[in-house]
Amino acid sequence: MSGSGPKALVVPCSGIGKTYGSVAREAAYIVTEDLRPAETCLVALSLLVMGDEAARAEVAACPAITLDGCKLACATKMVQQSGGTVAKGLDMLDAFRRQREYKPQGIAVLNEGGQKLAQAVAEEVSAIVDGLLPAAPGQGEPHNA
């Protein structure tokens, strides 16, 4: 984990070959690379599955936002089993239910609906991050998502 100050972890589904898993991962990239790069860190679910010590330490130290691609909720379960705290868990199917106009399709490459759904989820995650972390000194204004 790079940078200083409190971080929120974003842990997306690792389901390969699943459309909603792709939405989860795309949303995680948007948050951690574009919307809240200084406040968030992406943790690969596979590292937790393997018991990677560094990943487990991060999860134990920081609140996590999990993005699950299906009802198995692997991201949420692995964070909990790794000793972490799930500050908020988001289910991609529930996200689609809230944004029915964004029907995701595709796997390796999401269609426009999938990309828009990922963006909507990313903005939801960013708002959660803002609520979780204290504002940095001199940073009184909220982010523009």
């Binding site: 459309t19 009802k71 199917l93 689609f96 239910r97 029915r100």
Partner: protein, 149 residues
């Protein structure tokens, strides 16, 4: 609690409730006096994937057997559901509006779709499959699907 026939195909277990009748497509019909409760068979819900939206014709709608009684939008497909009976919709499962996943979680119980006042139940029943007949058909379909993948 109904009894079930079950089979394992590939890594999936499919159940068929013994106390009701089925269309070949996998919609079940359970007689309750003059009324018939309908829903999705386990194989159909598993094959279709997680249900995102379930829409059922409103109460008061009169249908003939084979006409669309509802539609599902799942993570994989949009499917139209044909009514197994002729009659009038008298009750729609209210839980489906907020929790359509009930269809996946409990297809033979809490995930029921609607109740119809049947106009010709005996005649309609003669056109439906028994649980045993549907089980054989479903198993063949599932095994065929497994061979393709």
């Amino acid at each position: 609690m109904p009894e079930f026939l079950s089979t394992v195909v590939d890594k999936f277990t499919f159940k068929v409730a013994l106390d009701r009748y089925y269309t070949a497509e996998g919609v079940w019909a359970l007689a309750e006096g003059h009324r018939v409760r309908i829903g999705l068979a386990d194989y159909l819900q598993q094959r279709s994937g997680d249900v995102a939206f379930a829409e059922v014709k409103p109460e008061g709608t009169t249908l003939k057997a084979g006409e669309e009684v509802g539609a599902l939008e799942t993570i994989k497909v949009n499917i139209s559901l044909a009514s197994p009976v002729t009659g009038t919709v008298v009750e729609v499962n209210p839980a489906l509006a907020d929790s359509p996943e009930a269809i996946n979680q409990d297809p033979y119980g809490a995930g029921w779709l609607a109740v119809l006042e049947a106009a010709h139940w005996e005649a309609d029943r003669a056109q439906l499959l028994t649980a045993e007949a549907y089980f054989d058909k479903m198993k063949s379909q599932a095994e065929e699907e497994a061979r393709k993948t």
